[in-house]
Symmetry: C2
Subunit: 441 residues, 2 copies
């Protein structure tokens, strides 16, 4: 990295070209992302040829790739896009704003149409991530012919499976490349194929495709239309990208931080993405203010007010823990439909245990530090212990139950968790704390 | 699922066997996980033969697999384990308690030793997830010989790459199966191989292996020792499992909910896992109580006490958002070392913007609902606006800066985030709020 920057600055073209020739396009792409725009253009120029340049661009983060191509004249953009695999081409074209993509498409002919075909599927569906170039042969093909075809073919997406179709193009079987090589030359594909093929429709969510691939350990899943005609194939490398993206999305959603990582140099946009997620928090807080104001006598007792943060914080943390565990269990499939009620009951138990321990700890701190307000130290400690215990148990139960309820209502539990659970739990904790204090003091 | 349960209950052995014969072992395994122990034994009996039973067990969640094998006599466990792929065998053996695994190992001979070899590597390293059965041939082998060997070989892990070694067993190249089939029969492997092979050492962290595979789109990465001797291969299906596991781990850590999903029917253990993560929260809350108690006059103003929750909640949420974005950016590599300072400054900007908007909203609510305390409504609103704005900006900055600092000190930023950020932010928000209120009221 440092070397490349130095070479760029010294305008040492030849040395730079030599280094880049030995660097994987994925690594050149990540170098590229760290450079300032003028250096970027020079780096791309120093890459040996257009085929490699196209590979580098295909490895760039999509937003950056479309920004770069948008800065080229349409002819040049069309040239570079034409060198990409069709699925990458479609992805990058999809990221271009329409006023840029149309002139480029106009100049790409058939290659553009191919990509447009893919773009017609939803971005996060099997159709959107598949590659249409599949290695498929008729069922009556001989093994020797199949090997011959394979030897002549180029540019089929990572051929490790050979798909078998009937005379109508319907998918009827699959053969691993290794099985093909091991089989007698005179056998027909239909004799050696596995007829029980797992396939998906193009509108299936990419997460579902990822689940199939990782569950069965497949290297690829064929995509077929409603009459079982082979449309394309989703390969394991695309699936890995999906799993990573979805993990990021889940993490951000769970924390109420939006749904994707915004570019770091746009604070206004970043704030805008996060703004709505805070609304529930602020609303819950304002409601808590009303609750507290409804108990003026209790609030006037200094230690009661002083312990608001700790009661809220412990209940909030326990609720978030419970929600995270349930949501992640639902996502990974470790928590199955039948066991949901049990999971909620279990979280109630965990909340009770944690609440008891932390209630006692916080109560002890209250006793030692504040000696209780005036003459009723015992009651004050009782308020702390019982309200921490009650609010934590409730928080744990709510944290588990709300995502479960969302899942039942077909609302993504990850989206609902951060605003719904934290707000409900905060409010419930304050309500319990002040009600108990009002009752006992 | 429902069908299988009904058949189990009706003891309809033959019908059950028929269904199971058509079901993928991964699906039988997930059926298995949903059944009660007695039904589990009957389900396993209904599976056609030991080879398939071993496959089902290999697909089980590790804890369950070891529990099941522990319930068998050592001879039977050894039989079933002997039928598994060596990497699965090692994993399951590793999950067995030593008093169970030793007698099983004693009865397995060579197959046990093979698995023990793998177990000697750390569980989450390249060595721990690799398979030692690699398809490797000498560099001077002819293409025709290589194809012949491939045709005779069985049980090599997902052969899609052929590795090429020299006379000392050192890795010198790689050939894709497809390239092999396409090449002239009379050429030598060294003439058609790619000499520039990316390999890893057995002690490399599995996350690093996953990063290599997904970055370069490989289907497998060879594992070599310090003298470049080929030890095994990590395949893409193992990598997918790693990515999923790490995503779960990251999510749980970020939320301060432990590091792995505990079995749901052990509340005491679940509580124990989560207990330490709450300590910092409770401690921060107790410190906040001291802060509040240090301002008795301010606390006595009812609306001030009433707005403690909302000030805390908004700052806490913004801090968590910032921390999540930075931690995830670090994990995915979207946030690179050079850009860290910029990311922190950016989060300060975002925090300021969000703080300003929410400060005004909350201030407006305070004004409308409480008309300020007594005769100083203006000052009260000023306290709210300025302390929400200040605490939110600080929260956003701290949320970004603490994970960055952890990364610099080589502490896993995900682990540190939940306790460190939330606690610091809570405390800072209370401190700012009361200091500002003390100053202005």
């Amino acid at each position: 990295m440092a070397t490349v920057e130095r070479l760029l600055r010294r305008d040492a073209g030849r040395a730079l070209e030599k280094i880049l020739a030995r660097t994987h396009p994925a690594d050149i792409a990540s170098l590229f992302e760290r450079l300032e725009p003028p250096d970027r253009a020079r780096l791309l120029d120093a890459v040996a040829d257009d085929a490699r340049r196209a590979e580098v661009i295909a490895h760039l983060e999509r937003g950056l790739a479309s920004e770069l191509l948008g800065s080229f004249p349409p002819e040049r953009a069309a040239q570079l896009l034409g060198r990409m695999d069709v699925d990458d081409r479609a992805d990058v074209l999809g990221a271009l704003p329409p006023e840029h993509s149309q002139p480029v498409l106009d100049r790409m002919g058939e290659k553009g149409e191919e990509a447009e075909g893919l773009l017609s599927y939803g971005e996060s569906t099997a159709g959107g991530i598949m590659s249409p170039s599949v290695f498929a042969l008729r069922r009556d093909t001989l093994v020797s012919e199949a090997i011959g075809t394979l030897q002549r073919a180029d540019q089929v997406e990572m051929a490790f499976y050979l798909y078998v179709v009937n005379e109508f193009g319907h998918l009827v079987g699959v053969i691993s490349l290794r099985q093909l090589v091991k089989s007698k030359a005179t056998r027909r594909l239909e004799e050696i194929m596995i007829a029980d093929v797992v396939s998906v429709r193009p509108d299936v969510d990419q997460e579902e495709v990822a689940r199939i691939v990782s569950r069965y350990g497949f290297l690829a899943v064929p995509v077929v239309d409603e009459s079982n005609r082979l449309l394309g194939v989703v390969t394991v490398d695309d699936v890995i990208d999906v799993i990573r993206e979805e993990a990021t999305e889940d993490i951000l959603k769970l924390q109420g931080a939006g749904q994707e990582l915004a570019p770091i140099d746009q604070p206004a946009r970043a704030a805008w993405v996060r703004f709505p997620w805070l609304l529930a928090t602020a609303l819950g807080g304002c409601l808590a203010a009303l609750v507290i104001a409804a108990f003026p006598k209790v609030t006037a007792i200094l230690p009661i007010a002083a312990f608001i943060p700790v009661v809220m914080a412990v209940a909030g943390s326990v609720g978030t823990q419970a929600a995270t565990i349930v949501v992640r269990g639902l996502q990974t499939g470790q928590l199955v439909r039948g066991a949901l009620a049990r999971a909620v009951v279990n979280q109630l138990g965990v909340g009770l245990l944690l609440g008891l321990v932390y209630g006692l700890l916080i109560g002890a701190f209250g006793l030692v530090r504040f000696h209780g307000p005036g003459d009723r130290p015992g009651r004050f400690v009782l308020v702390l212990v019982s309200s921490v215990c009650a609010s934590t148990s409730l928080a744990s139960t709510l944290g588990a139950a709300l995502p479960v309820a969302c899942a039942r209502l077909n609302i993504d539990p990850a989206v609902a968790t951060a605003p719904l659970v934290t707000t409900t739990v905060d409010l419930a904790a304050i309500l319990i704390y002040f009600a108990v204090a009002h009752l006992l003091m």
